[in-house]
Structure formats: C-alpha cells, structure tokens
Symmetry: C2
Subunit: 303 residues, 2 copies
Amino acid sequence: MTSTESKYLADIYAEWLGRMTAEPEMQLPAMRDLFEQWHLVTGEPTEVTYEEVDADGVPSVWCVPQGCVTDRVVLYTHGGGFVVGSRHTHRKLAGHLAKAIGCRALVVDYRRAPEHPFPAQLDDSVRAYRWLLAQGIEAGHIATSGDSAGGNLAISVALKLREDGDPLPAALLPMSPWLDMEHKGETLESNAATDALVQRPILEGMSTMFLGADGSATDPLANPLYADPAGLPPIFMNVGGHETLLDNAQRFEAMAKRAGVEVRLDVADGMQHVYPFLAGRAPEGDKAVNDMADWVRPKLGLA
Amino acid sequence: MTSTESKYLADIYAEWLGRMTAEPEMQLPAMRDLFEQWHLVTGEPTEVTYEEVDADGVPSVWCVPQGCVTDRVVLYTHGGGFVVGSRHTHRKLAGHLAKAIGCRALVVDYRRAPEHPFPAQLDDSVRAYRWLLAQGIEAGHIATSGDSAGGNLAISVALKLREDGDPLPAALLPMSPWLDMEHKGETLESNAATDALVQRPILEGMSTMFLGADGSATDPLANPLYADPAGLPPIFMNVGGHETLLDNAQRFEAMAKRAGVEVRLDVADGMQHVYPFLAGRAPEGDKAVNDMADWVRPKLGLA
C-alpha cells in the first residue's frame, strides 16, 4: 500500500515524460531546466544549513545539520544520467540523509556529459573524495551515496580508489543505481508500464552522451556490472519496485554477495525511481532515509 | 566601477533573453523552468535554516538565521512578473536579508498569473501578512520586501491593509519594483540598450497575464503609481542604474516624498534588475542587503 503523498513523484515524472514526448526536439538546456524541478519532490529539511565550497576545483555544497559531528561525511553524487541534475536538485535529499545520520554531506557538481564525457564525472567525484581526505577526514569516516547515475558513481568511486590503491570509504549507499550501460536488464521491459519516467530511449540517449566517442559500455568503471566487487566496503542499496532499473540493483547485489561483500538491498513495493526523494513529503521517503542512516551509523563509528 | 563577479547577473539575463528570443513560441512551463535558475545568482547564505509552512493556505518557506530573533519578520514576495519565480528562486536572497537583519523571513508562493490573475497575488500576500499577525507577530515588527513584481506587492500589500483598516508594517523594502502596468516610463526606452533582460515585450506579456480580463492597468492596487502614498510606512528602495524599470522606483520615490512619506532610493550605477540577487557572489549584492538591513533594523525596534 503506497501513501497518497508518494504519488507526487509518479505525477511529476509523468509530467516530465509527457513534456519530453510532446517535444522530441527539446534541447539540452531546456531538459536540464526541466530536471532542476527534482528538488520540488523533497520537503525542506529543518535545522540544516548550507555552505558552497570549492572541493579542489569541484563546485560543491556542504549540508550541515545543526549539532552534527563534523568528522564524518557523506560524499553525495547526484543523479540525472550524468547529463542533468545538480547539487541544487539534490541538496534537500542529501540534507535529510545527513541529518538522519548526524553528520555532514558534501554534494558535488561534477562536470556533466555530453560536454564532458566519461570519465569526467568519476574523476571529479574521486577528486572530491581525495579533497575530503586532505581536509583531515579519515577514509573510514566517509560513506559515498548517490542516486541513479550518482548511484553508479557511489560505487565506481570505490572501484577507482581500489584500483589506485587509495583508502576506501566505510560504506556505499547507492539509491536506484543506474549501472547497465548496455540496457540489457529484463525489468527495462517488464517494468516499462509501471515506471513513470525511466524508459529505454532516455537511457539510450544519456548513455550515448555519457560514454562519448571513446567510452565503452562494458568498462567496469562506467558499468560496475562488469566490475569485480571483491573487497568493496559494505553496501546498502534501495530501489523502487516499479522501476525499470530494478534489476540493476538486483544484479549488483547478487554479484556482491558472490564476491563476499556485505550487501543489503531494499526493494520498496510500488515505488518510483529514487523514491528517497520523497523525504520530507511521504513516509516512504522518510523511511528510506532513516533506514540508510540506521544502517550506516555503525559503519561510520557513530553510536 | 562594477565588480567582475556582478557580471554574472547580466550574463544569465542575456542568456535567458537569448533563449526566449530564439524560441518565440516558448510555452509557459518552459519559461517558468528557465526563471527557476534565478537562484543560481545568489550564493548560499551560511548559518540559515529553512522550514516549509502553510501560511493560512499560502505555501511558504521560513528562512531562519541561526540565533535570530523570532518576533521580527520580513514578509518576502518574490519577483517574476506575477507569472514566474517562486519561494525557491528567492530563498537564498531572502535568507541573506534575514541574516543581515537578524530576524526571520517568510517567502510566500502566491498564486501566479495567468491561471490566477490580479488580485490573487495581492490577496495571498495579504493573507500571509494576516497569518503572521495571528501567529502573534506585531505589525510594527514586520517589514515587507520583494523584488520586481514582488516589489510591487511589498507596496500594494501596505496599500490594501491601509484600505481595510489593518495595522501597517513598520517598513517597506522594495527592490527594483515593477509598478507601471502601462509601460510609460522613459527609462523603458532610454535604458533598453543596457538592461539585459527587462524589455517591453516581456513586460507587456506579463502585465496582460497579470491583469487578466478584468484588471485595470491604472488600478492603484495593481499599479501603485496611481495610489496615494500618504500614511505609508517608511520606504527604502534600491534599483540598478542600467534598468528599464529605473524610473518606476524614481517616480514612486517622488510621489512618496510629496506625500510626506519617509523614503530613500539607492540607485546602483551599472547594475541590472534586482541586483541584490548577487548577495553571496558580488560586493554590490552584499552591500545592498547590508544597507537594507542597517536601515530597517531600527524601524523594527532592533538595535
């Protein structure tokens, strides 16, 4: 049984899809403007302040809950297919998550495709992570989080750090991660009728822009379904049951389990893409945020 | 000499005007999306928290600077020609103003034209003012503020309260107010080459939507240039020297002076429409906010 309030997310997605369908020639600036509405889904978290910061060249915003500890941090990478979305669309969601955990969150404005194809997004996110270390934050006191394409980055940042021999974060918190750059998942078809926004043509358009001329859809850093998860930190994912991307999370969960990684996946019945956006508006969003916080606090050494 | 940082405002306005000119058939939802970028001009004010609130049916957001007094309030009405803009585009600007004063600001999402023509915007703004009184805030502890069309409302709210015999706010703080619904001002022509956004066709389109079928361009509550300012609270306006709307503020200043109202008008050389948006980014924006705060604090009984 889904809440009445949660319908807002399906409605706004249906409105966007309707506008994009009605205007197939919609230009990128207009599409970016459209997706900037994402923040509307989330209620303003109370008792959180903000501060813009340059994270070694990556424009970012700190979300600082009143009375939080300052030595634990969520590194938040926003969704939007690597093409749309910003630190502004996800400020409130990251603020809710930070507040529930009792730490700060850093929301990063990585460079977007197609102007900057893969691996610019990953490079910027890793750069922000290393900037946190340079600020004196211990790797074991950092969790990565992000949604959709940013959920991909929450994982691929850890893969890249492992590859480079850098210290890994304490935990990964991807929401509705978009991992499959080949569009092979069966829920892409089986949930096409229930997902209000994420349809094959959008994914194909965005992966083309993301990969650019030189990227490969099977590069493990672009598509973690091709990565070896062995040695990754504990992972907690959530995903909506109505999503076409549902099996991205399910396939990665299975891979991680086989590789011996601690992994949890919550599938929320009847929910749309990145339903934690509903924090501050609908009980499903608040529950998702609180569940992530309860799970990650001990990983970060918080009581 | 204008600052390098202040050029951002002229640049973003020129980009919007370019997009609207390139797409003369731009629909209202796309235009609203475009203007939602307004918030980008303003840097996040630090040490301010936010809380959404229903002000007797008017969706609003509280801006609450840390350590502020809670019994003084700025009622903030956003700009956007009565057609575009929202509590989200102006949250940061109102947050800066509230922080500089040391009180709270309430940013109201009045109903917008053309779906809701005049006087829906005024009715909602007055309703929010009366809701403040019902919360125990004294009229003499409230200042109205707003920019552009919201600067009109910052004045017309006081006119409507006077008409209804309600207690008046302590002070009015309109920024770049748009008052002239007849488009008669001489700076509309003489500053057309320097104003990066506000050109006659935009104003004509918005006033048509605002006035609707029944409104009059000479109704004193729609066009305060036809009002009698006698008995209004002290007024402090600022406006950019490059604005087509410059003489809206100048004409209202002259009227208010003749009527014996305490009035101050600051004209900022070389600045664009609603240059206080530059708070947190450029010195001109910070100065405008600080000057308003210094002027209004004693009016609100603050040291």
